[in-house]
């Protein structure tokens, strides 16, 4: 086939040629006309840096993401640490089994001992023997607003974290680097809080019905119209809970005979929704467009597994910002693929709505794309809007269909009125309705804080994952003992951080996750950075093996040249 007929196969305006070009040859026509060619085999083995995109014509600004490789010695020591802790775990299980030691965990009853064991898999073993020992880093009670600074109730444990009791003391003014408070709307003073109080006086707090029966208040209609105009879509639908939005709406959209292509690192709610729907699920490598394209081509060429009938629909499920990696989805490439192969796109903007983009409209705004290209835009109000709940935006027919067929919209309780008012007020502030510049100020403050914090952490020598523009900053810890030590040392210095370990991340890649907020001032960030620097030296966390360019040396070299 010649080049001209190959051109006719592709859609006219939406196809962007790759910088590698396209060769038409007699054999291998199907293989050589991939939109995204495989990168060259040879690349530096030290880092999986992706500074150079293979399709730079699709991106307006450089897409700078990096996931530095684990140093070999650190990986070996981490495995050794886990090995030692596993041996001690077996010892403790043995003591518990023979009743030498008191058992605090759930066990099967005597009558069930001959059945298939319930608590012997690795996750339960890990929970009993590793998670419990450092459990005081999680579930710390927050007394008050989780804003830029928060108050924590002090808890002590006398039996090694099996039970906790509060001492009554409250640790005040802990800098909060863990809450998803990207634009600083988690506050109890200001326009949002006042509006919420007024609405509580008018509507009360409970809705007392499910959405389709008597739970549809006029404030919900207002919220949905506002959300639709914020996102740039025709219509939107809101739900009381973000997790329930994903897990209950994907079953309404796909079913048997459909294909769901989901990213490797998608959130549990997306995975649950895809499994509940009963469709075939195929997983592509994280943010890897060649892997996604290969899956699409195989799906279209081979069809359903045994019958080879074409798939009823193909749904690509991606997230805007992946919160465990801090990476941003390659949306222009995904949209180009979706248009070429006639698939549908479901974009979960839980962390990116309100936090990315010059106008705060999310990852679509960040890349400068058309919102009509994304078929289903989903997001949550929990992170940037300081409220709770989720939404789905799209074409009017889609939303009308979901209103009648989604489990969440039919049976779940709708959003509580003061929460809905909080969302309305914060959304209006971000959009700048009424001439207020507070939204634009906060967006700018967030992006400045993100750039500053990431640059300083990188200069200190820590391994930071993710894209340079994402406000979620994972910092690698690797060793199991350092997870607990980091959380406790930071709390001693009055900084609250979130540390993440095994089930949420791969076993050796445990990390501490910082969430930068627009409410953090430069002084708070500097305090946090100093404390991180101290703790990094104390625990020897500065694993990065990159050379840092020193500007002072360059100046001295120039001067010596001039003198000569």
């Amino acid at each position: 086939m010649t080049e001209s007929s190959a051109n006719k196969l592709l859609n006219g305006d939406s196809c962007h040629r790759t910088s590698n070009g396209k060769k038409s040859s007699k054999n291998g026509f199907v293989k050589n006309h991939c939109l995204f060619q495989q990168p060259q085999k040879y690349h530096r083995h030290r880092e999986r840096d992706q500074h150079v995109t293979h399709n730079s014509s699709l991106y307006e600004k450089p897409f700078a993401e990096s996931f530095e490789e684990t140093p070999l010695l650190v990986a070996v020591l981490t495995y050794m640490g886990y090995g030692i802790l596993t041996i001690f775990g077996y010892l403790r299980d043995f003591l518990r089994h023979w009743n030498i030691e008191k058992c605090h965990v759930a066990r099967e009853k005597e009558e069930q001992k001959d059945f298939v064991p319930l608590y012997q898999d690795f996750e339960n073993f890990y929970t009993r023997n590793l998670y419990m020992r450092i459990r005081d880093n999680w579930t710390r009670p927050v007394c008050g607003v989780p804003g830029a600074k928060m108050d924590l109730a002090e808890c002590v444990s006398h039996d090694y974290n099996w039970t906790f009791e509060q001492t009554g003391r409250v640790v005040k003014g802990v800098i909060n680097m863990g809450s998803y408070n990207y634009l600083g709307f988690a506050e109890n003073t200001g326009a949002c809080a006042d509006a919420a109080v007024e609405v509580t006086e008018k509507y009360g707090v409970g809705v007392a019905s499910s959405r389709c029966e008597m739970g549809n208040l006029d404030i919900h209609e207002e919220l949905e119209q506002l959300a639709a105009s914020f996102l740039g879509v025709e219509s939107s639908l809101t739900f009381g809970m973000g997790f329930a939005t994903n897990s209950m709406n994907i079953p309404a959209l796909t079913g048997k005979g459909c294909l769901v292509l989901s990213d490797e690192l998608n959130h549990a709610s997306l995975v649950l929704g895809a499994r509940l729907s009963g469709s075939t699920i195929r997983v592509f490598k994280h943010n890897n467009m060649q892997s996604l394209e290969k899956l699409l081509r195989d799906a279209i060429a081979h069809g359903q597994p045994r019958t080879h009938r074409p798939w009823k629909k193909i749904l690509i499920v991606v997230e805007g910002i992946y919160s465990m990696e801090g990476s941003i989805v390659r949306l222009p490439e995904v949209v180009a693929l979706k248009k070429r192969y006639k698939a549908y796109l479901y974009l979960d903007e839980a962390h990116s709505i309100g936090a990315l983009g010059p106008n705060g409209r999310g990852v679509v705004d960040y890349f400068g794309l058309d919102p009509k290209d994304v078929d289903i835009m989903m997001g949550t109000f929990t992170k940037s809007f300081g409220a709770a709940g989720g939404y789905i935006g799209g074409k009017k027919e889609l939303i009308d269909y979901l209103r009648c067929h989604s489990h969440s919209s039919l049976y779940a309780t709708s959003i509580s009125p003061p929460v809905a008012q909080q969302i309305i007020t914060s959304m209006k502030i971000i959009m700048g309705v009424g001439g207020t510049t507070l939204g634009a100020d906060r967006l700018r403050q967030l992006s400045e804080n993100t750039t500053y914090f990431r640059r300083r952490l990188r200069e200190m020598g820590f391994i930071i994952y993710g894209n340079d523009d994402s406000p979620v900053i994972p910092m690698m810890l690797y060793m199991p003992a350092k997870i607990g030590a980091f959380g406790r040392e930071m709390l001693k210095r009055n900084i609250g951080t979130v540390v993440v370990g095994f089930p949420a991340t791969p076993i050796i890649e445990s990390r501490a996750r910082f969430c930068v907020s627009a409410a953090h001032t430069r002084e708070m960030l500097d305090t946090a950075l100093e404390a991180t620097n101290e703790v990094g030296d104390l625990l020897q966390l500065k694993y990065s093996r990159r050379e840092q360019p020193l500007p002072s040396l360059g100046w001295m070299a120039e001067e010596s040249l001039l003198q000569d």
Binding site: G81, I84, F88, I134, M479, P480, A481, G484, L538
Partner: protein, 80 residues
């Protein structure tokens, strides 16, 4: 980091040992068990090397000097 005295430096080294091996999260009696096992193994290694390494070294040196030193001797014997 600045250490006021040598004892503080040793305490920091012990802390690093606790973190790297993962012992930091264990209860004190488990730490004692691990430390005593490790200490006894290291003690046995040190004692064995003290007793046996000089003997092995001497034997090895004799073996190699026999290989190289023996050749010119036999060549001389042949010539004379």
């Amino acid at each position: 980091m600045n250490f006021k005295n040598f004892r503080e430096y040793l305490a920091w080294l012990y802390y690093q040992y606790l973190l790297i091996t993962g012992i930091y999260v264990l209860e004190p009696w488990e730490k004692s068990i691990f430390n005593s096992i490790l200490f006894s193994v290291i003690g046995m290694v040190v004692y064995t090397s003290y007793v046996f390494v000089p003997i092995h070294l001497r034997l090895a040196l004799e073996f190699f000097s026999g290989l190289f030193g023996g050749q010119p001797e036999s060549a001389m014997a042949l010539m004379s």
